[in-house]
């Protein structure tokens, strides 16, 4: 228990500092975990309580993602979502997979690394668009839809991971069945749900917490993993009052997710046999492959490679979902600890570099434009920030 308190206190300090400097906080939570855990001082070890809290963090992260997925919205923007999404998926999965396989990881490990390599951090991308005041850029919309597409793909990955040895078709039918039941419940119970959410006592928050936990606990009986259950719950609840659910689930997500990140750092072990060459190659490629997919998307969607640079700048950071993939996979026991360390390092490096590219992508673009224009025009346009 003292371990969690110490870890949370350190995270609080880090959160204060990083907010002040406006850099993403996730890599620092992981670094704090590394410093306190196995690799570092050994002050904190993971125990039953921390594992429960971490589990909650993951569950609420996925519930939140489900709430944000509104199928009808995606259908309305199909072409924009699909084109950029498919470019991003193919390029990054292929580069990630080939690189990992060539570096000596097994087939399944390479797939895990490729998935974590592909999926950018939605939280970081969105925060960067807001904080760097880029919402009006036309590329921003592309980035936002890209994140939605990645979330969808993540669900497919999670389903495939968790199917394990089950018959895939039966497994998918089961998931669809659960989703249908939850949809019907949300549809016919809509007024009841909204009447609960509208109250200003403890009921809305208690209900949200209990609903998520109850749904997750049903996974045992149905042979469907918790992750899929809570995403399905989120998608179903999104048809009622998603904003209210977000508001009531946010405190749990925010706190438990910090525990999740820091204990991910605690449990990974950099001290024994880390291959720094592998890590360096993966990190470098993680940045380059998003550059390639970004530029291609920019050319295809906006007809401009410079637009691609902007997309790249905001999608370099890998974060919460990459770690979620590793954590969910490692529980299957199929992967070596090396996968965890590699992805941890990739998240830390890409998210820190990503925060700088997100901040300076506009200047970079302007710089390139100036170079191109210098010969054509002697005037230097003054462009304020």
């Amino acid at each position: 228990m003292e371990g969690i308190v110490l870890a949370l206190f350190l995270c609080l300090l880090l959160a204060l500092i990083t907010k002040y400097l406006s850099v993403p906080v996730i890599p620092f939570y992981i670094l704090a975990g590394i410093a306190l855990g196995k690799t570092g001082l050994g002050l904190v070890t993971s125990d039953v309580i921390s594992r429960f809290f971490s589990d909650m963090g993951l569950i609420f992260l996925l519930f939140f993602m489900g709430l944000g997925l509104k199928p009808e919205r995606i259908a309305a923007n199909r072409s924009a979502v699909l084109t950029s999404g498919i470019i991003d998926l193919n390029i990054n999965m292929i580069i990630g997979f080939v690189a990992a396989y060539a570096l000596g990881f097994s087939l399944i490990e390479s797939l895990i690394i490729a998935s974590a390599f592909y999926i950018s951090s939605t939280a970081m991308a969105i925060t960067s668009l807001i904080e760097n005041r880029k919402l009006m850029f036309r590329e921003s919309e592309t980035v936002i839809w890209l994140m939605v597409f990645e979330d969808l793909i993540l669900i497919v990955f999670l389903a495939l991971i968790s199917a394990g040895s089950q018959n895939l078709i039966i497994f998918m039918m089961k998931i669809l069945g659960v989703l249908a039941v939850l949809y019907v419940l949300a549809h016919y119970g809509k007024e009841f749900l909204i009447s609960i959410l509208d109250r200003d006592d403890e009921l809305p928050i208690l209900f949200t917490f209990a609903a998520v936990l109850t749904t997750a606990s049903f996974s045992m009986y149905l042979g469907i993993p918790q992750s899929m259950m809570v995403i399905a719950l989120g998608v179903a609840f999104a048809t009622t009052d998603p904003d209210a659910f977000e508001q009531h689930a946010r405190p749990f997500k925010d706190v438990f997710l910090v525990v999740f990140f820091v204990f991910f750092g605690v449990t990974i072990d950099f001290s024994g046999g880390v291959n720094w060459f592998v890590i360096a190659v993966i990190c470098l490629l993680a940045i380059i492959s998003k550059l390639i997919s970004g530029i291609l998307t920019g050319i295809v969607i906006h007809g401009s490679a410079l637009s691609g640079l902007e997309i790249w700048g905001n999608t370099i950071g890998r974060g919460e979902f990459s770690i979620a993939i590793v954590v969910l996979y490692s529980s299957s026991g199929l992967v070596s600890p090396l996968v965890g360390t590699t992805i941890a390092a990739m998240v830390i490096v890409t998210s820190i570099i990503g925060s700088f590219t997100a901040k300076y992508s506009t200047s970079l673009r302007r710089g390139i434009m100036h170079l191109g224009r210098k010969k054509a025009s002697p005037h230097r346009m003054h462009l304020g920030r």
Partner: protein, 164 residues
Amino acid sequence: MSAMSLRSLNLPGVGTKYEFETDKGDTVAIFFTKTGTIQMYTLQKGCNTPSAAEMTPVEARRLGNILTGAIIEADQESVEIAFSALADLRVTIHSFLIPRAIAGKTIEDLQIRAKTGATVIAVCRHDKNIINPAPTFVFETGDAALVIGESDQIRMFEREIMVE
């Protein structure tokens, strides 16, 4: 072009976007973000770098008041509300800083209602609000009084009471 075409769009994870193009080709976009702040972007025609301002909801409402034409002075502002259902009843709420001249006097002494028809509905003193002050309420310098009435009554208040 006739009325401006306002485009509203829900951006997953971000919030709601409103965008419109002016007759002269400039673009204005407003984002109500999920973090609770409001960002306003303006993009001049022919330029490709927008400029942005981030506002709290209070600041955004203030900007809204300016844009709808309500008068705003440094510390004194006024809002006019029209109730179309009540035969176009127009009510103005105006804040006034109490000058030294009327400090120490009560609402009764000043005969505010009799002289102007307007009503003092709240007084802000040292960041505390006194709602519906009694007639015996004594003004102090530095108080900010919120006065409600029709625009004529507010003007009367300004002329009759504030200069006393």
